[in-house]
Amino acid sequence: MTSVSVTPQAVLDRSDELRRGLDGSFRDYMVASLYERAGELAGRSVREHGSGKWDFDQRIDRIVTSRWLGLPVMLLLLGAVFWVTILGANIPSQMLANAFFSVEAAAASWFESMGAPWWLTGLVWHGIFRGLAWVVSVMLPPMAIFFPVFTILEDLGYLPRVAFNLDWLFRKAGAHGKQALTMAMGFGCNAAGVTSTRIIDSPRERLLAILTNNFVPCNGRFPTLIMLAVIFVAAAFPPAVAALAAAASVVAVVLLGVCFTLGVSWALSRSLLSGEASAFTLEMPPYRRPSILRILYTSLIDRTIFVLGRAMLTAAPAGALIWILANVQAGDATLADRSIALLEPLGTAIGLDGVILLAYVIAIPANEIVVPTMLMCYLGGAMMMDITTYEQIREVLVGQHGWTLLTAVNLMLFSLLHNPCATTILTIWKETRSARWTALGALMPLGLAFLVCLATAQAVRLLPL
């Protein structure tokens, strides 16, 4: 035998040369031989004990994906998640709010007794601190319940079954069945939902999933929806079923979001993103026993603390901004009053009001602070008002600021449809690297939100209700 010196380049050249001689089916043979070898190894070393686990999974799957029960079971599970969240979050929210506001009152009077200037006390305690207090007390309890419960469903392996159940609808809309999975991520956070669209291979269907992810209400928007559901829907029902009714109305909003997702996907895949549905294959993993410790860790540390931290980062400057707007005089009115007056006509036209629109402008960085901002604007420069229960919030909104059922419904619609938060917009840009798709992803929902709210407001005003 002679020894030949082989350079890496020579190997590459030789492989290039050999590749030309291969016919296209060599990949089939490679995969088949890999599977054959793996099967042989598994047959030698793996022993199966009956098919109990498989049969058990099959029995569950037959129910959760069955022709008649599949969709109702899905709605029921979703409803149960919201019901548990609404039922459990109410009291801790009140306790947190009480605690924070007694701190605010005590700290503010301590500042005054130390001789701090009025604006410093106002900015720090009635601005920044109050913004943070609202965000934490409104958001922390629902998140600390919603995320773990939702993570249990995820950990069980239920979400791929949802994608399986809904794929037909997505196919009809020209989209990919895995879009259902990215939407499920969107419940947590739309930015995370947009990133998770990487699981979709086809660029066209991935763009569809990116552009419509916003129609899934994220966790930052659930407090708004839950608050409205409790104040306006639950209040209309006897206490025994109030929480159920509130949960049902949140489910209805989510379903509406799904309808918008499908409708907008359908319209886009017949206009800007025309094309055929691509291949769809989905592995349905076996059910697993959820590991409680990991669920608590991922849902509380990775999600709750992460989302809350982000909300607090934007709530602090937003709180300061609102305090400044409410306390700086321009002419004979405060800046807040002036901007609210400016937005009022537009707000009224779409069934909302100036304060709500101002809250949405201030909340562009993060949707979580919409409700706190709104409440701070409504309560204005007024000192400590003990607004800690939902009944008191209802009294402020309906009694003092003329909210009607239309306001509540349109705020729910606006919250569902309006533009994504700044983080999500930035994520869309990072994922698409295109200013045009990013602009479309931000402006299309906003335009749709205005249109839909305008339509309902005008319809309600024209109809003799």
Binding site: R19, D23, S25, T65, P160, D201, T281, E283
Partner: protein
Amino acid sequence: MSALGICVAAALLIAILAAPKFGLLARWQRHRAYRAKSRSEDALKHILAWQHRSKLATLESLAGTMGLRPAAVLRVVAGLQTAGWVESGAGGIALTASGERRALQVVRAHRLWERHLSDDANMPMGKLHQAAERAEHSLSREQVARLDAHLGHPQHDPHGDPIPRPDGTISALEAVSLNEWPVGRPALIAHLEDEPQAVFRQILLANLRPMQVVNVAESGPNHLVIETDGGRHRIERSVAANIHVREVRPQDALPADRTRLSDLAQGASGEVAALSPDCQGLSRRRLLDLGLTPGTRVEVALDNTFGDPRAFRVRGTTVALRRQQAEQVLIRPVRSPDGAEAAP
């Protein structure tokens, strides 16, 4: 005040016109450069196509294909001559060696892009050509090389044309026109010509695909009757001229007693015989990766509300496939232990 206004307006106007990247002038310049590039590349492709038919392109043939006025064609050809890519002789215009390499690069970009659109984006065959006509001029060589690697160095485009190699060589198509194929002998479709479009549409209407086995059942003076999996079709000889076929090799033949995975009834099982030949690229790789290799047992596991997709048990896992994917898995029905049998 008004002077200031005029200054601001003038500055704005200048910015709109002359901004370095987004200004109208810059856009116009880019557009001109792109148009010149795409025209000269289209001309190179045309001359190459005629050379493959052993003919020389002329100014008239160029003007006809490209839809340009003679003066514009002259400018394009002059540009190609300056670049040293073509030589004009008495009989017409011929490519130089470097011109042929350049033309083959454009063809390579075109065919790889078609492969990408078909495999990755599942674009229907009838739309590929138009989309690739646009993309071929804006892909850099580096992008083409990346695309080639991403697609796994394919040899043929979706309708069977060989893809030129990076060094500017191309393998010849070993196939004859369907018109010349004897009656009664199975043939494998090697290539479908996608131009002119009207003829290609006829081919697609008959649901013909590369790698499909056809049988000429009847041969008339102006038409042929062919049989495929999808039934019998009558096609004009002018259409058959654009269909190229070759001998069926043993590895191309599909098993005789096959049905499709999509036809299995709930609870029935089968054994994978092969993947349909028109399932290529990403979707073929995905099905193989899921373990749907020949000989594998498959069982229908789940239906859902809408009857599509359905889930199948493959190698101990549950895999959901849309009807379109399940149709591409050819199986032999197997009697399952509980006595259920595959639907006909």
